[in-house]
Subunit: 340 residues, 2 copies
């Protein structure tokens, strides 16, 4: 397959992006097309002593920055690495687009250039979410593609997330949970109450409401919420986890006894901290658009770029977009039958 990589997006572009591409290329036989300012990409390829044939450069002279307004950037910066890359994906010149650039612009660009899957009202960002009890990570959707969501959007997120987790992660019959104020049916806002009923009557493996204290405990494979709540959950978890690791570390340096103890436990703590390391996880798929797009963390290092490419490939290889399309057609037929 051909991976289209946004060479100019993110805080560490193009350095870490190109380095990550070189590292990924060493492990796969697929092609990587880096879109961006040719001289800069070329320079980085040289710095990484890359001389292979797997990686090639596609010129794009503009850059969409983190400060750019999403809609305006997509419409005006037509020669940006993001817009050029998305257009290549649309035209079949590659199979997947990976970017660490402006999240809002990437979601808007994917929607405008690739188009939404029929039946999907709002595309969503599906982020990998750690299990703080030490289990395997789960998926949080929507992680912030939209700031407001209606009940049917939450159902769409659940359908898409469940398909992705089943097809790309290989988990059978993924458990879907709805973020809510409490576990009981009938809790929450008018939107979560309606979404509960929709999820309950769907074919999904809906395990009910999930409240704050259980979100991080691996009680479901797909955690469904609106993008505002999802964004808060994701960043809060990262903030709390990293603060506590730091507190633990400082506390271990408190006195001589604990310092000696600290040295003895250091490697165990490092192993633990890695579980909360987004660099290991790969990127977050943009779900609900007509081709595979992966969003990387804005401050991605080469390691994160490599993970996003390698771990994102099944999004294209397993035809997840086609499967979601088919699912939405089935839902449509089901609704029509119900209405008759």
């Amino acid at each position: 397959m051909k991976v289209i990589l946004d060479g100019m997006g993110g805080d560490n572009a193009p350095q870490e992006i190109v380095k990550g591409a070189v590292e990924a290329a060493a492990e796969i036989s697929d092609e990587i097309l880096i879109v961006g300012i040719p001289e800069e990409i070329e320079h980085e390829l040289k710095r990484n002593k890359y001389r292979g044939e797997q990686i090639s450069i596609v010129p794009a002279q503009e850059v969409i920055t983190m400060e750019d307004s999403p809609v305006r950037a997509i419409k005006r910066k037509t020669d940006s690495s993001m817009v050029v890359g998305l257009n290549m994906l649309k035209d079949g010149e590659g199979d997947m687009f990976v970017s660490a650039g402006n999240t809002g612009a990437l979601v808007v660009g994917a929607r405008l250039i690739l188009g939404r899957i029929r039946g999907i009202d709002r595309p969503a960002l599906a982020s990998i979410y750690p299990d703080t009890t030490g289990g395997r990570p789960n998926m949080l959707v929507d992680a912030g593609a939209s700031s407001e969501s209606k009940a049917n959007n939450l159902l769409e997120y659940a359908l898409m997330g469940s398909t992705f987790v089943e097809k790309v992660w290989g988990r059978e019959n993924p458990r879907v949970g709805l973020v809510n104020l409490g576990t009981e049916e009938g809790k929450g806002t008018s939107i979560t109450k309606d979404a509960y009923q929709m999820l309950k009557s769907s074919h999904l493996n809906f395990v009910g409401n999930v409240e704050g204290r259980d979100i991080s405990k691996g009680v479901c494979d797909v955690i469904v919420c609106d993008g505002f709540t999802g964004n808060v959950i994701l960043k809060l978890t990262e903030g709390v986890a990293l603060s506590i690791f730091k507190l633990v570390k400082n506390s271990l340096m408190g006195n001589l006894k604990s310092k000696i103890g600290g040295l003895l436990v250091k490697s165990n703590l490092m192993t633990l901290k890695e579980r909360f390391d987004y660099e290991e996880y790969g990127g977050a798929p943009v779900l609900g658009v007509n081709a595979p797009v992966i969003k990387m963390h804005g401050s991605s290092t080469s390691k994160a770029v490599k993970s996003a490419i390698l771990r994102g490939m099944p999004y294209a290889q397993e035809n997840v977009v086609e499967i979601i399309k088919q699912e939405m057609l089935d839902v449509e037929e089901y609704i029509e039958e119900e209405e008759e």
Copy 2:
């Protein structure tokens, strides 16, 4: 002053409630009126060998359970400890009501029996929120009194929370932050965007938007959000923090070297964990009603009950309700002047 205590509310009532009252009485000279089933309260007082005069019993034969529907419970269970206690507070037979009972019922009961402060559309639950970087705790409002909030509600939460933190906690000019998707002005939902403008033009010390990763880092004294988000933030923080402490503990037991290290660092970790211990903090005030009400954690132990009583007393002593009333009148005048 006279503290009215709900003897029957919460998972550990009446045992831990009465024990906490006895422990609190030993440290203050104020009266504590325990409302509940007299034989049960009497029995617990005897078990705690209490023979003083500070604590007395007010009979109420019914109990509002955690499963009761809030509005129905308040309207029908008129001889419950909660309804009797709130009526006593309304009638001036005590200065503050403290309960570990059904949160929804307590908020509804406070609103219906005590009435809202003029100008306050929605009362709020103001919870103490830990600073995971190790600083002093802050206040989160609304922690779940309402599941949906409009922009003016968020402004009310900010006004009330700021007053409480200033008058009861003694922090000058408290910093107010708005939970949002990102730090930039113009981020978020239509509600947070409007609230941002209202907060910006208020007399409050508004420090702007606070995103997920900073919420727990002590960047503001009053963290403002809708009750749905507040409930998720509060429970998620607790869930993540406790999971990580457990993971750290388990990781320290991994091998002999780390076991020895673990023993050496144990006391430091315990000190650290206490910072996340709600029992130390006291209860959460219900703000925006015409008299002081404090909500304790449903699973409060005697230690938590004692903290809630002792740390809640300034809510009554400092006339916070009167100050909020005056503030709302000032806001009203200000709005009228603006409109002229």
